[in-house]
């Protein structure tokens, strides 16, 4: 299976920048550098303030690059039903996000899906969501 790294130079669309998560993401990531990564999970770091998904991505030159994808606070993703078994090493995922400004192999995880297109995170913590009521 061919893994792809594509850094899209076009497709810039400005989102409102704010600091509603732990820090302002527009300060950490470059809005002019969208990135799409396809690869295999090697590890998930369950750390605060934000979790990090580590994944190996095979570049167009055949070299494997280890990427880090910033995820949600472990506390909130646990509340959404996400567990240590939700993303086992070896799982193939697709990440769409933006590159880190510091040039490291890091990106925010704007959209994360499994290979078949299913969302990695589903459910939501809305208390009116019937799935969450069942969870309780």
């Amino acid at each position: 299976m061919r893994a792809v790294v594509r850094v899209l130079a076009v497709g810039l669309f400005l989102m409102q920048t704010n600091s509603w998560a732990h820090h302002a993401f527009a300060a950490e990531y470059d809005q002019s550098k969208p990135v799409r990564l396809e690869g295999k999970v090697t590890m998930m770091e369950w750390i605060n303030p934000h979790s990090w998904i580590h994944m190996d991505v095979v570049g167009p030159d055949g070299k494997v690059v280890s990427w880090m994808i910033e995820g949600g606070s472990p506390n909130i993703i646990v509340r959404r039903g996400f567990t240590k078994k939700s993303l086992e090493p070896g799982t193939e995922i697709i990440v769409e996000g933006y590159l880190a400004k510091n040039g490291q192999a890091k990106a925010n995880g704007g959209i994360i899906t499994f290979k078949d297109g299913r969302k990695l995170f589903v459910g939501g913590s809305n208390p009116d969501n019937p799935e969450n009521q069942q969870k309780k």
Binding site: A21, K101, I111, R118, K119
Partner: protein, 340 residues
């Protein structure tokens, strides 16, 4: 002025507008409820009281709501419809084909809260907004703005809020609802109340024995709290804050308060699942009058207060600073090329 073409309809509107405002203004219980007692006889406030339900209520009231403390039925119905749309979107298994990744954290990181009728967390002044700054505070803000013009936004970690730096959000910043991790736990023992905040894992130990506050040279981010009971209401007075650091807003961001800040919190159980939380903010060196925040906190016995070891993985701060240095270097190199 709006013409009321039916007097009884007009009266109904006025009554509907006034009743909740009166209920809110009266912090004494409007209905008789006797809270459970601890084995040593204090009102029992113990439990999990996350502020998540109030997430959609802004700290300051939007201009278009004026002095209305509560939304109309129509406005509230719009909030409910929006919440249902969000819940439906949450249940989607697949990303929409035309979805585009944003640079901000995706929606799935966030709690959703519950639609509320309350128009703002600030309930006094009646316009739901922070009072004007004092002349002294305005001078401080001007000096701060002037100093920030002489440097970049990410020159140092010190250019970042205390929350970004995993230091503290202050006592109000720790309870004003944020998109996630709004856990608040109250634990009591004879002579003490402890309040634990999930983020950034702080605990306030509040003595109830009438001892005086610490000396004025003892200062901290969370201040020095002393509590007492007024009937079934826990009253907590907190002083001895470190000034010129945190503000009063989500995550402690906002105009920094001074070391003269004094916060009076009143916590009253209204029924088996509701704990009214009211905080009066009095800082005569920063605001021209005291002001008040109000939130009915809802019990959530299933809420787990998970550890939030903030600095463990705070890679982002280093990423932001190194990103800014990389941008500066790129600019320098571009300038060199141009000058050649």
């Amino acid at each position: 002025m709006m013409k009321c073409w039916r007097v009884h309809l007009c009266m109904a509107v006025i009554i509907a507008a006034l009743v909740p405002a009166v209920m809110l203004a009266q912090q004494a219980p409007v209905k008789s409820y006797t809270p459970p007692k601890t084995p040593w006889g204090d009102p029992d406030l113990q439990g999990m009281w996350p502020s998540t339900d109030m997430l959609g209520v802004p700290l300051q009231r939007p201009d278009n709501l004026g002095e209305r403390a509560f939304l109309t039925d129509e406005e509230y119905a719009q909030r409910e419809a929006q919440a249902q749309r969000t819940a439906a979107a949450d249940r989607e298994d697949f990303v929409k084909p035309d979805a585009k990744a944003g640079i901000n954290p995706p929606s799935h990181w966030a709690e959703r809260g519950r639609p509320q009728r309350q128009a703002s967390l600030i309930v006094d002044p009646p316009n739901g907004k922070m009072p004007p700054l004092t002349a002294e505070a305005q001078r401080r803000e001007e000096a701060r703005a002037a100093a920030s013009k002489t440097r970049g936004p990410h020159d140092s970690w010190e250019d970042h809020p205390f929350y970004d730096r995993c230091i503290s959000r202050g006592i109000l910043g720790s309870i004003i609802p944020h998109i996630y991790n709004n856990g608040v736990q109250i634990i009591q023992q004879p002579g003490y109340v402890a309040v634990r905040y999930e983020m950034i894992h702080e605990t306030r130990i509040i003595p109830l024995d009438g001892r005086p506050h610490a000396g004025s040279s003892i200062r901290s981010y969370m201040g020095d709290a002393r509590g007492h009971w007024e009937g079934n209401t826990l009253v907590v007075e907190t002083t001895n804050f470190l000034g010129d650091r945190n503000g009063i807003g989500v995550n402690g961001v906002g105009t920094p308060y001074s070391a003269s800040l004094r916060v009076i919190e009143r916590l009253t159980r209204m029924d088996s699942t509701t704990l009214n939380y009211e905080a009066t903010i009095d800082d005569p060196k920063t605001w021209t009058r005291p002001w008040k925040i109000f939130m009915p906190l809802k019990s959530d016995p299933d809420y787990q207060l998970l550890e939030y070891a903030c600095h463990e993985g705070n890679y982002a701060l280093a990423d932001i600073l190194s990103g800014a240095r990389a941008a500066e270097k790129a600019d320098e190199e571009a300038a060199k090329k141009q000058s050649k």
